[in-house]
Subunit: 159 residues, 4 copies
Amino acid sequence: MTIPKDKLLRSEELGEYVTNMFATNMPFIDLLGMKMIYQGTERAEVHLPWKDNLMGNPIQKVLHGGVTAAILDTVGGLMAILHAVAEMDNVTLEEFHHRVGKMSTIDMRIDYLRPGKGEKFIATAEVIRKGSRVAVCRMELHNESGTHIAFGTGTYMIA
Amino acid sequence: MTIPKDKLLRSEELGEYVTNMFATNMPFIDLLGMKMIYQGTERAEVHLPWKDNLMGNPIQKVLHGGVTAAILDTVGGLMAILHAVAEMDNVTLEEFHHRVGKMSTIDMRIDYLRPGKGEKFIATAEVIRKGSRVAVCRMELHNESGTHIAFGTGTYMIA
Amino acid sequence: MTIPKDKLLRSEELGEYVTNMFATNMPFIDLLGMKMIYQGTERAEVHLPWKDNLMGNPIQKVLHGGVTAAILDTVGGLMAILHAVAEMDNVTLEEFHHRVGKMSTIDMRIDYLRPGKGEKFIATAEVIRKGSRVAVCRMELHNESGTHIAFGTGTYMIA
Amino acid sequence: MTIPKDKLLRSEELGEYVTNMFATNMPFIDLLGMKMIYQGTERAEVHLPWKDNLMGNPIQKVLHGGVTAAILDTVGGLMAILHAVAEMDNVTLEEFHHRVGKMSTIDMRIDYLRPGKGEKFIATAEVIRKGSRVAVCRMELHNESGTHIAFGTGTYMIA
């Protein structure tokens, strides 16, 4: 996907672009094997297939707590950017990157509800506090059978 | 290190054993390249050398927020187990594993203070709420120059 | 409500008893004007009518953030006890008080979503992580028109 | 303290002014009996003498968890404003109020370390993440003997 630097992009196009950027441009996301699923700018979704090197305790065969935190931070951060993107329209990539460069996680809470067992994990996020500078997202992690593994709450600087 | 199953271990020996178990037995810790540093049962320390595949945003060349969360959860969890171990004495490995099997993170908060830039990262933890069933740990992440990158607080089930 | 000390109480009776105890026996709950609403052992609800002395900033005429935290801690703590009570049956008051004496909040996170404006505030809670020793509750605060004011998450020692 | 609306105030004067405003102008702070202690713009301190109506559980004779949350939110919020004030100089009260009107708590975590027993409680705060729009504060609550009762972390919108 090559987009001319000065093309004016609609909110939808920016949403797809940023989701694709997460998928292809962030080495740690690739190391874990996360897949970004674009679903518009109102909701974010990230998938993670089980791999043995994501294990914490090998006796229990469950995800390391850090993997859970990493996928929840990723889906929350993606959601926060999509929320910012939803307000943008007719923006060039250059202007968009100028804004994205300042985005960062301020804080995050993870509640571990059940052991991270499964073959595939699905993380979702939605915005619970909207703002032009700060967005607060609520995140959830389920496995392929719908077992609820963890809750997250993240506060993100978006401008 | 092979220890007979029925040998009675002192607190110090268990501390070294569990630190070594984290180092050699947890695939995700290995994937990231974390090193466990044993320093007795009062304080936990984990080191992480920079690797390009730990990056989030490649423009900024900083740690992905999930890496920060993962190393803080690891050092906090190790600290919580060491705290439990400090109360154990003359315990066999079998009994020890029986107890460790129930340990888990209940919740964790991360405060991201500064971008995760550096060549080596040092995570430390101490216990702020002691208990026989639940321990609360305070964690910190610094880089090799002493820049303070993140704070963490984790609540761990230890029995 | 006078209950003989050695009477064996069912879970339902204990639930009503503990809700009543919160309502009549906790001076701070009375100072703020909170009303405990008993709804069985699966869900907790606390109401708070607006009073001028609950204000933080008088220009905005909104609840002080500490009031929001206090009502969410109260409804979460009540929920955690009700959850423990749901597992008890044929228990005397003496035994019940022996257990309740050890209950305490370990940690709590509040997310302030919107200014605390309204004439009456409704706090609700449910358990998201069940356990015999620790329960994690999710709490919400709304006003009388259904405006969502705050989220809370609390980790409670229940035994 | 009457200050002409168009007088240009120095950072120090604004710090004293805002501390005084918390003390005299916030009904809930008065209801609990908190005292604001001005100590410059680098550190905030709030005192709270014990009163029976701040009790949660009357058997244990300890502060209700909501009181702890309220005083920590107050000292953290004061600190966040003082931090913003430290960057202001030659500002009129009108301009100052225009900015303060937008300040609010985004989220807060409380870690309850020990029962809130004592005759007088001292809450302190410092800024751990500085920014022009968002400040993150670390708060602590001790009693008059130096017993550490609680930790807090709060994220505040300051512009």
